[in-house]
């Protein structure tokens, strides 16, 4: 009995072992960006005082804040800040293509994507939002424990070379964050985003790319293989391919941007050699801004 528990515990700890660093780094990152619980910056249901405003036609008398009104002739209504929890669903591509870093000094794309996702989750959690993972990840909930759950769920790699966006679990009128390199098939993504837009979901597309994928610094006779090995392409002069590759990459980015515009999402291309903080702050503003709109 105790042996079983001990083994479970040991496995759990083993499982959780990678968590603290990721969590800690995500915490640290989140700490740079934001500042605790926050309101919606508009009047509504909530506990915090928002503003006094003069009594208008249609306001009931019980709404009048008499204490304030007694100081003058005008009757004032006390408004509270609208505080409502948003649901933010995240998808982090954990397929093989993300496990790529062109240099030892650079983090691989999935490390960066998970870090950004987790830090965003922490921020959102601190902001009182509900965070969940799309697909078979944890359902949206609040609380520190949810962050741990998300962290744990992010540890699992997905099979396949290129990740497919999971549309399942999209909460209507919620928000979504999708982090991937978007190198795979474009059609599933398009479908997923269109479906999400139909449900009134707004969101953010973050394309995480390695610098090598932007620069294509290859020459000579080369056989390119995807990380999973499912795709391969051989060329005799890699440098001759470069302009056409870059053209295709540009097209892909333009397609993503276009899709994002069409569905009311926002799109960011982030490189692993850029600072994570700037991406996070952009991400945070984008998600937050989505809420205030």
């Amino acid at each position: 009995m105790t042996g079983q528990a001990a083994s479970l515990r040991a496995r759990a700890e083993l499982l959780a072992a990678p968590l603290p660093p990721l969590l800690a780094r995500a915490d640290q990152l989140a700490g740079i960006v934001t500042m605790g619980e926050h309101g919606r910056r508009r009047a509504g249901m909530g506990a915090d005082f928002w503003q006094y405003r003069p009594l208008q036609q249609g306001d009931s008398a019980r709404d009048v804040d008499w204490r304030r009104s007694a100081r003058g002739d005008t009757r004032f209504v006390r408004q509270h800040e609208w505080q409502v929890a948003q649901t933010v669903m995240m998808w982090v591509d954990r397929a093989a293509s993300m496990r790529f870093a062109s240099a030892d000094a650079l983090p691989s794309k999935d490390v960066r994507a998970r870090l950004l996702a987790l830090a965003t989750a922490i921020l959102l959690d601190r902001g009182g939002e509900r965070v969940g993972l799309l697909g078979d990840g944890p359902a949206p909930r609040r609380g520190r424990a949810q962050v741990t759950r998300i962290a744990q769920a992010l540890e699992h790699d997905e099979p396949g070379d290129y990740g497919l966006p999971a549309a399942a679990g999209m909460v209507a009128h919620g928000q979504a964050v999708m982090l991937s390199d978007f190198m795979g098939d474009f059609a599933p993504l398009q479908e997923a985003l269109t479906a999400a837009a139909d449900k009134g979901v707004r969101g953010v597309l973050v394309q995480v790319l390695d610098p090598a994928e932007e620069a294509f610094p290859f020459r000579g006779r080369t056989r390119f293989q995807s990380i999973g090995g499912s795709l391969s392409h051989e060329t005799l002069k890699a440098d001759a391919l470069r302009p056409r590759y870059l053209e295709r990459l540009r097209e892909r980015k333009a397609a993503l941007d276009g899709l994002a515009r069409l569905t009311g999402w926002q799109y960011l291309c982030h490189h692993t050699d850029d600072s994570a903080v700037s991406a996070l702050s952009w991400l945070w503003r984008a998600v937050d801004g989505g809420g205030t709109r």
Binding site: F100, M183, R221, R223, F224, Q225, S226, H233, E234
Partner: protein, 926 residues
Amino acid sequence: MIPGLAFTTPWLLAVLAALPLLWLILRAVPPAPVRRRFPGVALLMGLRDSESVSDRTPWWLLLLRMLAVAAMIIGLAGPVLNPEPKRPAPDMPLLVVLDGGWPGAADWPAWRAVLDRVLAEAGRDARPVAALRLTTPERPEFRAAMGWRARLDGLAPQPWQPTSTMADAAIAALPEGPFETLWMSDGLAREERARLLAALERHGPVRVYESDRPVMALLPPAFDGQAVDLVVRRAGAGPAREVTVVAHGLDPAGVERVLARRTLELEAGGTEARGALTLPPELRARITRFRIDGVRSAGAVVLGDDTLRRREIALIAGADNREGLELLSPLHYLRQALAPTAELLEGALTDLLPANPDVVILADVGKLAPAERAALEEWTRGGGLLLRFAGPRLAASDLGRHNEDTLMPVRLRAGGRSVGGAMSWGAPKSLAPFPEDGPFAGLTPSDDVTVSAQVLAQPDPTLAERVIARLEDGTPLVTRKRLGAGQVVLMHVTANAEWSSLPLSGLFVRMLERLSAASLTDRPEAGAMAGQTWQPQRVLDGMGRLEDAGTLPGVPGEALLDAPLGPELRPGIYRSGERMIARHVADAQTPLAPAVWPARIPVAGMQARPEVPLGGYLLALAVALMLVDVLASLAVSGRLVPLRAVAGTLVLGLALAAVPVPRLAQGQGQAPDDADAFALAATGEVVLAHVVTGNARVNDIAQAGLRGLSRTLSLRTSVEPAAPMAVDLERDELAFFPFLYWPITPEQPMPSDAAYAKLNRYLRAGGMILFDTRDADIAGYGSASPNGRKLQQIAAPLDIPPLEPVPDDHVLTRTFYLLQDFPGRYAGGDVWVEAAPPDAEKIEGMPFRNLNDGVTPVVIGGNDWAAAWAMDARGNALYPVGRGGTGERQREIAFRFGVNLIMHVLTGNYKSDQVHVPALLERLGQ
């Protein structure tokens, strides 16, 4: 099989047959691709290579590899170039006969190599070897070949050819018994060859080694007074080739160097090349030897002697020539006698002595000024020959009357004597035979030489030893005295035919020759050399090197010229007294013909190439090809590009490193070509120039202004300047420009110290700078205007004399036009020039002071002249001046000022001369 090529292991070549197989194997292997994990491959799908590169190894790479393999196989098979054929050696001793004279010297190293090979061969066959040198015949002794090999290094050619006496001696010295003879012939035909060959053939077979190159000889140069005639001759016709003859000599520092070169053309089939070498006399006199460049042989060297020199003789006559009496001139006969063989200098003694002539001839000069005496004595003591002729003036002077004069060999008795004249007794005297030990020994006095008047020597104790020629009655005719390193010779007669008929005879010339007064241009005849002993100074060895003669004995004069060369008479420089004669190795009479051998005698060339094993080269080639293959393979698989980038970076780096060098150099000097081009442009014609300021617009105005001024000058005056130039003070040479226009801008950089040095040098050397502040002088030379301040700063380090505003009588007001003011675009400002000397006084009645000083180095004003002068290419004025007709008048005056200024620069103060006063007064209407 290729001739001259053999293999040590020929069977290995069979492997070459496997090469086609290798071709098939190699050809199938494509270069391996690099594998890369790359997520972006999804975007690459479907992209095709634009260049269709086959995945097979390209044919040229295959060829390269095949060549490498083939080179390796052939290299391992041991190829040998020029393999030596094996010849059975006859079982008898070997006698090596060497000609050993100078004709073989040119190929001496090849001879030695052949000899070494022959000796090595003889050593392997255990044949005894003996050597016989025909130039120094000695009885040959057969010895082991190894012993001879050790002595090879000491073997040197002799500077003579074997003579028939030597050949006879050699025949007599031939050893008994049968032997094989190897004759190392120098390739020249000689009559004794046949005799010697017959004698040798009696003992056994004869083989001949002979050089394939014809023997070349440089003949003694002939000097005809203008040029040295060089002749190169070769034995036997050959292909056309160029021969360079080099003249060596001592430079003034005493170091031997090449003084001149002359390339002669030997035509195909011709045997002789001629060419003249023209040299200044000073250089010619320095030549010690001529040499055919690249030929090491005594025959290719001729030594310079007196025949090359033309002495410089200063002729000084006491009396002025009596006009019309040319034949009575004291110098006429001297000139006639000496002109063909010497450089004659005439003039004042003090002018001639610095030229350091070899001989000074004073014809009938009595008195010398003390300075002249001192200079002449110093020159004589330094080794000069002072030759004096008597004459009426000398006889009348008291020179050397009571005391012996330093510059006279004897004391003279007053008056002299005349014999055989209308007023005297006796007959004219003829010459006594010359003493045997004197300088005239060997000359025969002819009977038709008579002396009718002479000066007489006082019978002093030293007289007897100083007399070198007497008359038949014993009175001295020529006396001589040593003075320091030089000598003083007095002919007791005149240099013309007044006192004697000596100057009319050929003896006169001979006597002058013997006194070294005349130079030897032709070689003296044998008769004239009889009885003299010539001492060798430096002799040639067989290779044509000059050696000190050391203790070699002297040679009788008659033998020196004609006797065949040998151990007793070596080619070289011989000296007798003051004269030097070279005995040459080859002269025009030396027969130079190729030797002809009977058909039965095998003749081998000297130039047989030694065996060269080629295996190492081929293996090295194989390795090199493989290295190339590595690079080529990288290139084919596209991986050489980083290398190329590296190389490109290197090249770029080098280029960048190289590029600033000329820039830097420009800072100090300028690239020589640029400087030359600049100098040529600036000096081809008169060029006006302006100083480059920091302001492009001001530069343009200055350029246009000077263009306008140049144009005006060309139209109105005989000064026709070329297009004006811009001068960078830091970079360009200023000395070419008579005139610099310097517009002042406040932003102008201050010139560097070097530039100031250049400017000061320019001003001191007579250049003129026109400083123009272009501000209408509003501040009146205060420091109020920025241009004025800048001018003060710039001019402070300049070497500028005191200045004053142009006075009314300054030469600038009248060098071409008569002007009173000097407007530019602005009128009225003061113009400053160098101040007149304080003592210049105006003379009553004269319109201007006598100011005969130089050109003012600076003119300073602020009237912006360049803008007034400025013209475009069509001659239209660029900037307005004043208004309407008045303005045009002002521009005209500005141009006139420019013309006056340039005239002042170019003609100096010539218009300041009072000579022009009347014309000027007339022009001025006074």
